[in-house]
Symmetry: C2
Subunit: 222 residues, 2 copies
């Protein structure tokens, strides 16, 4: 089956999670635009990424990026997650929004501190309503490993969402960059992936490693 | 290092999670008593388990079991978790309580539905106070696989608790039965393991497998 080539925007794409995903998705053949609050900063980082991956990655402000993307990734810190989505909500109509947000609250980032509604990503689906196909994914993948293009990423991706075809599209993007994505349930289940990130941070510290991840076991065909 | 041999009680030990853990811990050389609300039922199941494992497993009511155990496991359904602990609280003083509870709310057991305080096990630590050393563990391990003694259990154990030496003791018990236990943070982090169980149930259904589990990756010494 031929791989579908998408125009993908990465909002907050100048941070480590954003650059890592943009690099990997561009290397897999997709057309990438990274967004930032400052278009100039986005263009500067995009130029660096373009040099690294050998394929043009565009940079623009978050809003223009969201407008141009068929699929929009959100890779901003939790503190600005809601505000960033509110600023582009009207141009997300009908699109898949892949929200990678983890509700980490410094300084205790190794302690699970889920928001009142339990999932930071489910809150965005509630905000956006059914017009936006919100999918939760990539919370547990090490940004550091994503950015090292020659480093295999030894982590599965839990993909949650109320829109199953949208989840399947994101599972396809996982496969494009060499990761196994698993349908992990409705958007409420994003709480599991979000909470797990603090556990992985704790394990990194306790066992003095970088980039702990998870693999799903028990599959008939591993 | 010689393995310490413990007297271990398993409250609610006639259910699948309880029998599986009792079998594995007895096979590893520990002295097991399974508890039940009805002592007669506990004794009947204990006799079956004894025959299977070739080592005596005792059966009694939950209270007597808790009294006799140095380490007490809790393997009851969420609906009776709190009541069961309240009934034995006075005999748990100073002991390690290994709470395996997952807050599944039928019929939607594949959907994360964490309690208001986020973690069912953290709620027990709050109830018990500092006199009881509550450790959260074994939420993600397939009861079915635990019960098949010749089936290797391909799943790591997330171990959470506010009492680090107690967590280390439970990580030791994991090793005794051939599992890798990881210190996964304070008792609040139990929310991650609890939520993950609904994700694994969803994966079992979606991918038509039994007993999906997780492995931690990224370790220097795998």
């Amino acid at each position: 089956m031929e791989q579908r080539r998408y125009s993908i925007a990465v909002l907050g794409g100048t941070g480590p999670q954003g650059t890592g995903l943009a690099l990997r998705l561009a290397a897999a053949g997709h057309d990438l635009t990274i967004g930032s609050r400052e278009a100039e900063r986005a263009r500067a980082v995009a130029a660096e990424l373009t040099a690294r991956v050998g394929k043009t990655i565009q940079g623009s402000d978050n809003r223009s990026a969201a407008q141009g993307g068929e699929i929009v990734f959100l890779t901003v810190p939790y503190a600005v997650q809601r505000g960033t989505v509110e600023g582009v909500l009207d141009v997300l109509h009908g699109k898949i929004l892949v929200d990678t947000t983890v509700p980490l609250i410094p300084p205790k980032v190794g302690t699970v501190q889920l928001p009142r509604g339990q999932s930071a990503v489910a809150a965005i689906q509630q905000l956006a309503g059914s017009a936006v196909r919100v999918v939760s994914a990539f919370q547990n993948v090490s940004a550091q490993h994503l950015n090292e293009l020659d480093h295999p990423v030894n982590c599965d991706v839990l993909v949650c969402g109320d829109d199953r075809p949208a989840c399947d599209s994101v599972i396809g993007l996982c496969a494009d960059i060499g990761l196994r994505g698993f349908y992990a349930g409705p958007i409420a289940n994003s709480a599991a992936a979000e909470a797990l990130t603090s556990v992985l941070i704790t394990i990194n510290r306790r066992y003095k490693i970088a980039g702990a991840g998870i693999r799903i076991t028990g599959l008939l065909k591993p």
